[in-house]
């Protein structure tokens, strides 16, 4: 009679763990070497540069400045914001390989015989292998991490730059890295336990690592391609793959002028979700392993559920790929492409995973089903069966609206620069709660839909996009994105230009006042005046009280300006008041200077400079003019006719069509860089006309405009003119209507314009007349 003996399972497990760890020696070595290269070597390479910076830096507060500098340039233990992504992916790849290696005994009959004959329960076998793999991967990672952090402290820590932010970053980096490594391992193991060969394990788990992201991307892309107004947030898809979330995790942050603000709670939340997923996958792996038949080793499973998932995904992928290739064609061609793509890629997947065609007939129904579902979805979206395209909220339900329209202020500093992420979309957003403003935006939206209804194919007017987000009173939102803006929509939106809510958010006169109230800022404002012909402004020597009155006057005149005067000015342009804004609290902030635009006229690009604003003054700016008169500074606005030797005139229709079409345009200082070049010579492509008669020049000065609403029709009848002094120095710029040109040049210019406009054929840039 055999007496079963119970021996210490702990010592059995330890013995097996030692053996399993020894099996992973090659991964330990590979992890150590690779991490050393991507983490430690960059320090060694950049050490001389950092040493130089440390010794060459000077300032009132050396320690504080370096602390500020390095806290901005160190990302935890890393030297760049891309490093954590690469480190994570390297670890994930090693983990993927180690997991396949660790589970390979399941895919070899003779290895299975050895391991499954051992007096160990399968759960213990799996858990011990898992422990050994995690130690092999995370052990070197943690050691190198600690080594780097200690070295970092030893070299740079004396400046006391380590802050709570540093520890938060490090903690989040460690947490997310370890969790994502765990997920990669758990997923690979779960698949390995359920398939019969290492190849199937590699292929299927490799696909599953990215499947959610790709499906999300395909679904989102198809939705965006077929549904007018749809825009999907592709970056969300990066969070659906453990590999890609390594890069995305710290991108979930906001970049402001005051530095990066990491969304730690959000990152932690997503990571916690991944941790849960990893645990569920591993738990499922344990359960499946208990039930796994040893004889599955070395068997392909043509009807296995994992294989079917991957094959159905292949059908979806193939359909989407071919659809993308033929997206510009008619519906019949697109459907054919969708079917052929799904069939061909699905067939390839079937051949590879089933090692032939033996299971093809049986699997055909599932493959056809997945293709059919995608086809139906595509048709449903294409014909807007879900009623997405033309859905608009009732005005009474809208609490506020956000719209990517800033009109004439498109390139000026915005409130978003200081309170929101610095990215193009956020900078171009205006948020409105006023009922009249909301109605204007909704009307523009309506126009956009009408435009779509009448046009089979959308046209792209100079790369402008329109995004509208309604926040409804019931807490929901309705968002639309249009990659081609209907000129009529912009014309309608231009009605916002005289609305106080719009001006307060976009005009630097008001935005910078808000900025100056932010905690910690030391705003310094200086003023200068320029005539319309000059490009250089003369600094105004004003005391604080006078400066305050000047800003108040400008603000009042700006708010009082009628819409018609903005869109189609009749008042005479008088000159500019240029306001320069500096924040003395950022004097030594080199990085800040590069994140906010710097001046066009060569201000020293130190950290304090924020922005400048050329406020266009017309006869209508009565308060401003009155104040200048009182301060005996009005003369600065007067053009010095005797200094002007020439006015150069040329068209700008190509600029108009290239960007910001059908909006209110300001000429100064936006046009300087381009027109200095454009007006300096003739070319075979365009002509520059010259007016030198003093009387005609004076006439041009009186009739030139600094700002106006330009659509195709107006733009075709308006030209750019630049004043040139008697030494040939190019100066200020203005718009001039064709009809306002002197007789000496008008016919030639008109003839030239006809030729130029003929270059823009009806098919590329049709002339559109809008009403506003």
């Amino acid at each position: 009679m055999i007496t079963p003996k119970s021996f210490s399972s702990k010592s059995k497990g330890l013995g097996f763990f030692r053996s399993a760890l020894l099996n992973q020696v090659s991964f330990i070595i590979a992890t150590t070497i690779l991490l050393f290269i991507v983490i430690v070597v960059p320090y060694l390479v950049s050490a001389p540069e950092h040493s130089h910076l440390l010794y060459s830096y000077s300032g009132p507060d050396l320690t504080g400045a370096i602390r500020d500098y390095y806290s901005r340039y160190f990302y935890g233990i890393y030297l760049s914001d891309a490093q954590p992504g690469f480190v994570g992916v390297i670890l994930a790849l090693i983990t993927f390989a180690a997991a396949l290696f660790s589970a390979r005994y399941l895919h070899s009959k003779k290895m299975t015989d050895l391991y499954h004959a051992l007096p160990l329960r399968r759960e213990k076998l799996l858990l011990v292998n898992t422990g050994a793999t995690m130690v092999a991967i995370l052990g070197p990672y943690l050691i190198i991490y600690l080594f780097t952090a200690i070295g970092q402290q030893a070299v740079y820590g004396r400046y006391g730059w380590v802050t709570a932010e540093y520890f938060r970053y490090v903690a989040m980096d460690l947490f997310t890295t370890m969790v994502l490594v765990w997920v990669v391992y758990a997923l690979t193991t779960f698949v390995s336990v359920n398939v019969g060969t290492t190849f199937d394990s590699l292929a299927i788990s490799g696909v599953l690592m990215f499947l959610p992201t790709i499906v999300y991307g395909i679904g989102g892309s198809v939705w965006e391609l077929t549904t007018y107004g749809a825009k999907f947030q592709w970056e969300y898809g990066l969070r659906l793959s453990p590999f890609l979330f390594f890069f995305e995790r710290f991108n979930a942050s906001t970049y402001t002028a005051r530095g990066t603000i990491y969304q730690y709670p959000f990152i932690a939340g997503v990571t916690a979700a991944w941790l849960l997923i990893g645990c569920l996958l591993f738990g499922a792996a344990l359960l499946c392993y208990r039930r796994r038949k040893s004889e599955v080793a070395e068997q392909t499973q043509p009807f296995g559920i994992f294989q079917m998932v991957v094959k159905c995904f292949a059908v979806l992928f193939g359909s989407a790929l071919f659809l993308a290739l033929f997206n510009e064609r008619g519906m019949a061609v697109r459907l054919l492409a969708l079917v052929l793509g799904g069939v061909s890629v699905g067939l390839i997947a079937e051949l590879i995973l089933s090692r032939g065609t033996k299971a093809l007939l049986k699997n055909l129904r599932w493959l056809a089903l997945s293709g059919g579902v995608f086809c139906l979805m595509y048709l449903g979206l294409s014909f807007d069966l879900f009623g997405y395209v033309y859905r608009m909220p009732d005005l009474s339900n809208v609490a506020s609206v956000e719209v990517t329209y800033r009109g004439q202020y498109w390139d000026d500093v915005s409130r978003a620069d200081f309170t929101s992420p610095i990215d193009w979309d956020s900078r171009s957003i205006t948020r409105l709660e006023d009922a009249q403003c909301i109605e204007i935006v909704r009307n523009a939206h309506q126009s956009q839909l009408e435009y779509h209804r009448q046009n089979a194919d959308s046209r792209n007017y100079g790369g402008s996009t329109l995004r509208i987000l309604y926040r409804l009173k019931n807490g929901r939102t309705l968002s639309r994105y249009y990659p081609d803006v209907d000129p009529q929509s912009y014309a309608i939106l231009s009605q916002l230009e005289d609305k106080e809510e719009f001006i307060l958010q976009n005009n630097p006169l008001f935005v910078m006042e808000e900025y100056g109230q932010l905690p910690g800022t030391q705003l310094m404002v200086t003023a200068a005046a320029s005539s319309i012909t000059n490009d250089e402004a003369v600094p105004l020597k004003l005391n604080e009280e006078q400066l305050g009155r000047l800003v108040d006057a400008l603000q009042a005149d700006t708010l009082r300006r009628p819409l018609e005067e903005i869109l189609s000015p009749t008042h005479q342009a008088r000159g500019y008041i240029r306001l320069t804004y500096r924040d003395l609290s950022r004097l030594d902030d080199y990085d800040y200077a590069s994140t906010v635009k710097y001046s066009y006229d060569g201000f020293s690009n130190d950290g304090s400079f924020i922005t400048e604003y050329w406020a266009p003054i017309t006869d209508n700016y009565t308060q401003t003019l009155a104040l200048l008169r009182e301060l005996k500074l009005e003369y600065l606005l007067e053009p010095k006719l005797e200094e002007i030797g020439e006015v150069r005139i040329s068209d700008f229709y190509d600029i108009y069509t290239f960007s910001h079409a059908s909006m209110v345009q300001r000429m100064m200082p936006q046009g300087r860089n381009y027109y200095d070049w454009r007006m300096s010579k003739d070319s075979s492509e365009f002509k520059v006309f010259s007016v030198t008669d003093p009387a005609e020049i004076e006439g041009l000065i009186n009739r030139g405009k600094s700002m106006m609403f330009l659509d195709d029709d107006a733009a075709s009848q308006v030209l750019a003119m630049q004043y040139v002094d008697k030494n040939g120095k190019q100066m200020g710029l203005q718009f001039i209507r064709l009809e306002d040109l002197p007789d000496s040049v008008r016919p030639q210019v008109a003839s030239y314009l006809e030729e130029r406009l003929a270059l823009y054929s009806e098919t590329d840039n049709p002339r559109v007349t809008v009403t506003y």
Binding site: T3, K5, F16, R18, D113, H116, A117, L118, L120, K293
Partner: protein, 299 residues
């Protein structure tokens, strides 16, 4: 004791074992004989707990071995297709097993290393087939299991090693009551070692007997006659096989050898003697007795 009752195991619809019932007594050396695909290796894997039965049951000491570490602790399975840890030496494998099998004996291991001409420090992947098999047997014996399962264990071993191994097994069985189950397609190889034998075909046992009992009822006789008698003349004897070559007849007769010789003497032979009977010859006739055509099963 190992008991299989109506044991069934299928692979993709093919029944490797089909309603298999057998008992392997404790302390026996049980030979499992059968052609390729008869179910020998499958049975061993079921006993060692690698496979789970699809039907029926397999019990070792009254417990199913599948996922039963306390029972598997006492079983060691030497597979026909050997596997060793990558880049390992015999010492490395010994440490591996020592960490898992508490009954592993370093003394036994050292003794085995002395008796077999294998360098324990050399990497196993440099060994020949026979050397690998010796390595596997050394490790198996060092674990001192109560049940030793050997699948084609003697394949590739030279005759000297075979003899040595037989002696070792015999000693271990005599000392410790080890039960050995040996699967092979070679009857002659098992003849001198096993005390029990089972013949498998198409997943079933068609013949299972103690070896002594198998040979007990048969004898083989060779006789020379001036005029050899025809088979009809030999009706008094229970002749299983009659072969004539000139004046010499060879008979396989069921019955006591002395009695058979005495009966043949009555027929006036020039010479009559008994010759050793092989297990294969016994099996042939036993299976014919139960209705199987031996020539279709074993070759």
């Amino acid at each position: 004791m190992i008991t299989a009752t109506a044991l069934t195991k299928t692979f993709d619809g093919f029944a490797a074992l089909n309603d298999f019932t057998a008992e392997i007594p404790r302390g026996s050396i049980y030979g499992l004989v059968g052609t390729n695909g008869s179910g020998k290796s499958t049975l061993l894997r079921l006993i060692s707990g690698i496979y789970r039965p699809d039907g029926g049951e397999i019990l070792v000491a009254g417990q199913p071995p599948f996922e039963n570490p306390s029972i598997k602790e006492r079983i060691f399975h030497v597979s026909d297709d050997l596997y060793f840890l990558p880049q390992s030496s015999m010492n490395d494998m010994a440490r591996f097993y020592a960490g898992i099998y508490r009954s592993f004996s370093w003394d036994t291991y050292r003794e085995m290393c002395d008796r077999f001409p294998i360098d324990p420090k050399k990497r196993i992947n440099t060994f020949s087939k026979g050397m690998k098999r010796q390595t596997a047997l050394i490790l198996a014996l060092s674990c001192r299991p109560d049940i030793l399962l050997l699948d084609e264990a003697f394949d590739g071993l030279d005759p000297v090693i075979r003899i040595g191994l037989r002696k070792i097994l015999a000693d271990l069985i005599a000392d410790g009551g080890m039960t050995v189950v040996i699967a092979s397609h070679n009857l002659r190889e098992l003849e001198d070692l096993c005390d029990h034998m089972g013949l498998l075909h198409a997943g079933k046992v068609i013949f299972a007997r103690e070896i002594d009992q198998v040979k007990l009822g048969f004898c083989k006789v060779q006789a020379v006659f001036k005029v050899p008698p025809k088979p009809e003349s030999l009706k008094v004897l229970d002749v299983m096989q009659y072969e004539i070559s000139g004046s010499v007849i060879n008979l396989i007769v069921r019955g006591n050898a002395d009695q058979v010789v005495a009966e043949i003497h009555k027929m006036g032979p020039i010479l009559v003697e008994t010759v050793p009977l092989t297990l294969e010859e016994v099996f042939i006739h036993e299976m014919e007795a139960v209705g199987y055509d031996y020539s279709k099963i074993i070759f």
